[in-house]
Subunit: 335 residues, 4 copies
């Protein structure tokens, strides 16, 4: 039984506690939050759990094997480093840290101590994203061409991070997991409609070493919620709509074929192919439940983190570059 | 009765001929195309019309009052200049020319001769776009914040122009017509998946003098057709979906209110407003019919061109800047 | 504080317990179920609650003011009658009983003892249905013409009741609440695809005293879930789609006008009106929470039950008539 | 070359003329209509065609091989009989006649003369319906269980026929073509909201000899257009939505399995299967073009009519029975 301490019981904390409570290999033994009202709720629901407003007590608790960090991003680094130094495994909210330097430091600390460091990029553990990865990696999909995502809604304005760090981070985690391609440069533009606040709309292009291009459109000021990703392959294409109740992933047997006519090497023949559409059944197990199982398997040494420090760092590097580009109205930033 | 000669009877030409034939103030008297098979179709449908493969004959025809140019973009400038010099009014397909220099030259020629020069930016004449302009200009819409459009499909790869000049041109015409704002810089990224061919995917950000940002996503390699535009105002927001059969324009009574709390000027209070949705009835008269009426009114001096040379030039300038930015992976280009 | 005992902790029971627990005027003091595993779950979540497998103990418990009955329909009558005789108020799942005779008996018992009897027709307490009633009762809606609902999905086959008693009961509760019209006859058809089991598809027409007709299509064997109701008025019409995330109720400013031409009384002029569409903001408070508040208000004598025994009886009468008609392939049954 | 005379140039006539004109084996030589304005339009578009207001002249025309009848239903029988007697093949609008007696008479006349009689049940010739028939007939579909269709819109009130004869006729033609099952009884209900006019809403249940049930919901007074059919099989189910641009036919790998447990013959085990969804590419050739080809092949003796007099009669018999049932509020009518 892995004993877990959770720091932060705000928006996402209750989901984390519930999943670590119901997993057969884990149990939450302590919860820390600065808001006493929230701690009372924890006690009402889970009478046996120790509650505290002092994170240092939770981290020092010898009963705790793993620390879950669900606090604002700015505090991630300090809590995670402290926990690793105390010999605890770490399960940390996304994005891992506010700088790539911090992320590297955490990776080193976890590595040298043989501890597991997992970043909660929840989307990677959904049935839809796992199914898409499977499809993309089959030869029937052809060569990957592009990833193009719109992720917008009337969202809470955050004061500490811009919309890229809040929403684009999800697409970046999917891309890093499913695309298997190295980003070489980014260009980003964005805008803040509230003076003094971080950007609430942003458009990010990622260039890759191979013939792939990715684009992400995020917005906290959209009248309707849209979650739609197009993934183009040379033989098949995918539309992933996370708001669809039953057909989240659609695979189109569509594409273009390019052939060079033999007598004239400069003359291209582009022909179109349109065929059937197929929507695979998606495993609808709660993503967080899959992720907690994975965390346990990592602690037991049976699996390697799918969204470990390295993946978390890769994503923070893209976000850092995007911020730099966005401050210069899209000027490209090499990676 | 205004007598019209049409150069080019390809994809769009038949629609132009039909509309100039059925308008009570215009009549097509001559059609020119290099493909004799197409000319035969013209003769079968409209026995009285003169057909020719020689554009110079049509332009020189003294019976012709106005020349309609529906040929590939590269030939627009020469045909239009020739027609204006011959004293004919000109109705020309979009985009007006391949360079802003050429567009300026046509504007001067038409201006000095007192001739009408109208660019066929058809979307401006749709009921949906006219209704949106009306809504945006009302105080109830608040201050315009952004324009964000996705216009993708499995489209014909064009060999002479990239996807911006083919598809983004529609959004630019809507923006120039409906937004009433001056672009100051652009950043564009894009990609060609077929070696040696123009870009088939592109992402364009337009920055304006005021607090507005625009973004356009165009793609010839999408598995499904999407035509969706979000227009954000401070009090209302619009979703315009051109593929919706009956509810093309939806107006959301949604927005955010930003107030500074009196005791602490740095503390912003951002509150959300969500109310009803309203979808106005849209006039579904064929856009081209409205546009031909407008062309006639311009010739009679009753109206001024909504999509004249000036508007056409403004759009070409944005496209030129976008091309330059796209070649530099998003590096911003001032206008 | 109203003290509540809940009989039945199956599918719906946990929602009932949660809502009676969180309401400020009510508290669950006892839960009865025959499955000990379920009772353990109750104890884990709500340590202070008395659990029992004996309904008679719960009903006899002098601490209990009101009994909530969430058991299979066949047992409703016995539990409810026992509870009323013990002087408890009753909150009972839909449909109230399996026969109209039983329902009448419960109404009498509650009436003579001055106790509240509320049937849990949850849809009546949703924001969407309350908003629709409001719209239908305004003069702008015109004269009500029809109610036409499709409520299908791949549903659990029930062994004790057919699909009308399981699904159509929801539409009947909406109709009784929102339509304010007296049914005079029904015709129903249906089919069972599993020998020996109740009908899994059914189609019910209800005729009213006024010029209204209603139709309900229910099916446990549909590949996709559909919840869509058309409500026609002479001036406006409604489409209510319960699966729509944000636009559940759409009001169409559409209709037909019928005028008799003065010179020929037999000649009708039917003209069409199509105007804007409007989708009002819907209150999204959980329906059960609204209903528990209403139950409390009824107990305090401040309100009269919207879905009391009388309404429950009216619905059972329609279902009884529908069963009779369905056994005779649609032969009409007067009410 | 088959020479065709067309009687009736109203709503559907122009489509018929165009398709008989462009088919390589047929040519329209004469058009009859009582409205001279319409005849002028014919002459403008097709200068070589003879026009007349006298149907007897067209039918007597020795040049005419086949007569196309696109007039109001009430006149179908007389025109068709006259044409057959004159030795002409007949292509007639749906429904074939207003009574089954008339239909039988036409079948006899055509049969005894060896002439082709084709009813224009256009839906049978769409790619979607032909694809569905293919799917239903494969063993993977399992045993057919039901057909359930909604076909509603704000439609033109017709004064001569009710909504069943106008709209349900389409579903009946699809059913007769694709279902391969014998109707044994019907129950129908309906309503007219305009005094003295035929029913504008109707609900029709068809019972079959085998374990199939069909239901059709038609309405001229719906605020939105809906064209959706569910077809249930024991192994797969179909949703056919004719308004979907690109995914008209969806095949669900869903169903229920019913097994009897060995130890207790009365205990049924019903288990659910949910799998992938598949949307086949649909041939989008214009249905009328396919149908005219088929008509030609029938005249040449190469094919037998898919929608001949027999099929037309079968449909009229169902409609007659439905009318009788509808007048008696759903009382079943055996066939």
């Amino acid at each position: 039984m892995i004993k877990v301490g959770v720091i932060g019981y705000g928006y996402w904390g209750p989901n984390l506690v519930r999943n670590f409570m119901t997993n057969q290999d884990t149990r939450v033994v302590a919860v820390c939050d600065q808001d006493e009202g929230r701690l009372k709720k924890v006690q009402a629901l889970y009478p046996g759990v120790t509650v505290t407003t002092l994170s240092e007590d939770l981290i020092a608790d010898s009963e705790v094997d793993a620390v879950v960090i669900a606090t604002p991003v700015a505090s991630h680094y300090d809590f995670a480093l402290e926990a690793l130094k105390a010999g605890k495994h770490v399960f940390i909210e996304k994005p891992i840290t506010t700088t790539s330097e911090q992320a590297s430091r955490l990776i080193d600390e976890a590595g040298s101590r043989g501890l597991t460091l997992l970043v909660d990029h929840t989307f990677v553990y959904t049935g839809a994203v796992r199914k898409m990865r499977e499809i993309i990696q089959q030869p029937s999909f052809g060569k990957l061409r592009y990833y193009d995502s719109v992720r917008v809604n009337l969202g809470l304005f955050q004061h500490d991070v811009n919309v890229l760090w809040d929403l684009a981070v999800h697409d970046l985690s999917v891309m890093v997991y499913a695309l298997d391609a190295e980003p070489v440069a980014v260009s980003a533009t964005g805008f803040s409609h509230v003076r003094g606040e971080p950007e609430n709309m942003a458009f990010l292009t990622v260039f890759f070493a191979s013939d792939i291009i990715a684009h992400i459109n995020v917005n906290w000021l959209s009248p309707a919620k849209i979650r739609r990703t197009l993934i183009g392959g040379s033989k098949q294409m995918i539309i992933y709509d996370d708001l669809e109740a039953s057909e989240k992933v659609k695979v189109y047997d569509k594409g273009i074929s390019v052939t060079e006519t033999p007598d004239d090497i400069h003359k291209l023949l582009i022909s179109y192919r349109t065929g059937d559409l197929w929507s695979p059944k998606i495993n609808d197990t709660e993503a967080l439940q899959v992720e907690v199982d994975h965390f346990v398997a990592c602690l037991k040494g049976e699996q390697k983190p799918l969204t470990g420090g390295e993946q978390g760092l890769k994503i923070v590097r893209i976000l850092e570059a995007a911020d730099m580009s966005m401050r210069n109205r899209g000027a490209p930033v090499d990676m």
